[in-house]
């Protein structure tokens, strides 16, 4: 990132390549679909590049990146929510398509069809349970699960104290437990 600060575009392309999958994976589960996630991810990278001069060498790049991603994802969800309200009819066909079934099937081709089906259904239940969480709970949970971030880093990315992250995650996980208890056999 220090090279990027000096205007090294090749270095930035390298950074984008390093973080793009992690960011898109996270954003897909935050905004609901992959296409929107890619758009938001691109905007995140644009903003990071634009603000490169403000990057402090002692700050963790991933924390900074996910902090921007969190804000943009929240805005996108709010905008999508408003759009959904006004386009009720259209929403049915283009609703959250977080589950790219073909991809999942391809990945799990070694499994029996019935098991694939069961897995897909289970995934939908998990997605539905995630939808019951608020934006902050979802973000904290994904940062912890996908990125393996500790409470301090999550707090830095979400502008919260570690103590606040602790109670946020406690409530989120408890909510998840209640929603998924019957499937967690």
């Amino acid at each position: 990132m220090l090279r990027v600060r000096q205007g090294d575009e090749a270095a930035y392309a390298q950074l984008v390549a390093t973080y793009q999958d992690r960011l898109i994976g996270l954003l897909t589960n935050l905004v609901g679909d992959r296409t929107t996630a890619e758009d938001v991810a691109q905007e995140v990278f644009l903003r990071v590049y634009r603000a490169r001069q403000g990057y402090e060498a002692n700050a963790k790049f991933s924390t900074w990146l996910f902090s921007i991603a969190h804000n943009l994802a929240s805005n996108t969800r709010r905008t999508k929510g408003r759009r959904k309200e006004t386009q009720l009819a259209a929403s049915e066909s283009s609703g959250p398509q977080v589950a790219p079934m073909a991809q999942l099937v391809a990945e799990k081709s070694a499994l029996m069809p019935s098991r694939i089906m069961a897995r897909a259904e289970l995934m939908e239940k998990v997605q539905a349970a995630m939808e019951t969480l608020n934006d902050r709970q979802r973000m904290a949970l994904l940062l912890h699960k996908f990125e393996g971030m500790n409470y301090i880093d999550i707090g830095a990315a979400m502008e919260m104290t570690p103590q606040a992250v602790k109670s946020l995650l406690s409530r989120a996980r408890d909510q998840l437990r209640v929603a998924l208890e019957e499937y967690a056999k």
Partner: protein, 173 residues
């Protein structure tokens, strides 16, 4: 008897942090003893683990092949220039401008203060000027003498009349 041990709200709040390894050693030890004594708590913790593991089912799509290129092309196309407000020299410039403005305000205030004191606070010369008419007629005033004498004179109309007549006919009789 131990199996009936109640789990407090605080213990429950610590379950997740315990699983995440975010409790202090003392807190973890205390919670472990609670878990050892409470099958209900153990079941809850187990469910927390299992439901958390279910998040592995969530999709984690990868970026499309052209994502990096597209992003870099967008950066070039939009001619993104760095946000100047984030640069070090901009921040220094801001501090400089504020300092300069403060000095300016202080200078103006000083000038105003000087102007107002020289305008309204009287100097020795102002006092002399103010008293100039008195100074110029000081001799006459000294000739008049005391006020008491003039007041007495006013109280004796016959004497006053005599003086007036004398003034009218200075050569008298």
């Amino acid at each position: 008897m131990d199996k009936m041990k109640r789990v407090t709200v605080e213990d429950r709040d610590n379950f997740v942090a315990y699983l995440d390894g975010e409790l202090s050693p003392e807190e973890a030890k205390s919670l472990e003893s609670v878990l050892a004594d409470s099958p209900v708590a153990r079941k809850d913790v187990e469910l927390l683990v299992r439901t958390y593991d279910m998040l592995d089912l969530l999709p984690r799509p990868q970026a499309t092949v052209e994502f990096t290129q597209r992003t870099m092309a967008t950066i070039k196309l939009s001619g993104i220039t760095p946000d100047l407000t984030q640069t070090e020299w901009y921040k220094r410039l801001q501090v400089g401008i504020v300092a300069l403005a403060s000095v300016g305000v202080l200078a103006v205030a000083g000038l105003l203060a000087y102007a107002s004191t020289s305008r309204w606070a009287p100097t020795d010369e102002d006092l002399l000027l103010r008293d100039l008419p008195i100074i110029m007629n000081l001799d006459d005033y000294q000739h008049v003498g005391q006020h008491e004498f003039l007041e007495k004179l006013e109280g004796q109309p016959s004497l006053l009349q005599e003086i007036q007549e004398e003034v009218r006919t200075p050569n008298g009789h």
